[in-house]
Symmetry: D2
């Protein structure tokens, strides 16, 4: 498995607060998406380029667990990992902390499948072997040397 | 000019509040869009169908004036009119009140131009004459009788 | 357990679509909140009144499973149930369908705990016994007759 | 008048796109808010601290003019200026460009008034003289030296 860990910096926007005085819980789903995009980009996969090449990454499942609130103007660190990849489905995990703090504010997961524009699943091993190896964490160069 | 007036009912969602305890000001822009869709639908123009037929209605300008706050769970009435149509550009006006109240909470405008999918402007008189007459407020049936 | 089932009608807004041409996945979390508010209101608990009386219902966990996409202008039916209540925590379940259709588009859950304004948990049995009985599905009148 | 110019960097999020394939027009209002917060912060006014000290800055009017679309993953530069301050009302102007480009994508304004928590207007000259001078662009130190 690709063990890359990415860190995304998100500043809580005023619009993202609610009348409870905290960041509204649904925003974390949006931040996970920002973080996932960063993880992919750091691994050489611009999601923009993926879509332009006809590959989409729709969400099959998302969940978030809320431990502590966060607030307007908080600077958040979203730590993102690839938790699972079975050749078809990917699961990402996310941990939300205030920048520079150890305490976990929230954590979550999202599950995806690479798809064609019509949202039919796409087997990466066949359709995008380099990407397949990258997600498996196997060096593309070594593999292509066989 | 088409003088149709539509009334859209919007209930303020919890997500739409901010930590000032009121509905966040940017949401009115979203509500205007909901209201505009209703106005068009009531005039026989489903925006969904328009897009499927290759006609888009991008926004050139939007503005909103805020007189009074509104709050979570408020039931709002958005009153929508076509303010101007010159064969190319449309201007809609919006008035926001609490349902059953006279006091104006906010009002605004949005300006649009009918466009092709690539966002180049589209002359309705030539490309969609029935729609052109409808926006002018001239009876399509009468006109087509000539 | 209170077995009430509520049905909420949500029309997908243009703002809620994304460039994949479907309703963006995070919006379901917002719709769940709308649906939960309806469930509570139909059971005589206006969330607005709850907050005014110093009781909040923060989210501990939310999840959503996506089976089929939904689209701009789709009229959705969100079916909401109380799945669990143990005197402290509540779990709601949500099922999303197009109005009048049987096919499930998405389903999810959210977990909550009644809290004071400072977000410390609140024991309903002690602090709001009528509400406690209502969530248990026991008739308040009968109970108060003992 | 304070002539400070701030530059805010915003990356267009996937959630912020719509099915026209562009950033949905209402998001610019949210970005203006992010940019305004940056302008204030760079002038030593954390909006967070302002609110904690009982000063709010509600929006009286907002407008945006759209010249060119922007897209998912675009890196935007929002250039913000104080356009007017008359002792009571402030007007900010915003210009949106892609980072490193000269072409203007959109521009807008927002009008505000400093308020108490109950949203009644607050005269800065009396209630926050240092802030008043700062907005006027007069050096606080010099002034306080007299």
């Amino acid at each position: 498995m690709n063990t890359h860990v990415s860190h995304s910096r998100v500043v809580v926007r005023y619009q993202e607060t609610d009348q409870m005085g905290v960041a509204w819980h649904g925003n974390y789903i949006e931040w996970f998406e920002v973080a996932r995009t960063d993880w992919l980009r750091e691994q050489g996969m611009s999601y923009l380029s993926l879509e332009k090449s006809g590959m989409f990454l729709p969400v099959l499942r998302v969940e978030c667990h809320y431990l502590q609130s966060c607030y307007y103007d908080d600077v958040l660190d979203i730590e993102t990992r690839l938790l699972d990849y079975n050749g078809l489905r990917l699961v990402f995990s996310y941990e939300v902390r205030r920048e520079g703090e150890h305490r976990l504010l929230a954590h979550g997961e999202s599950e995806h499948v690479f798809s064609r524009p019509d949202l039919r699943p796409l087997r990466l091993k066949v359709n995008a072997p380099a990407l397949h190896l990258l997600l498996l964490g196997e060096s593309v160069t070594e593999e292509s040397g066989h």
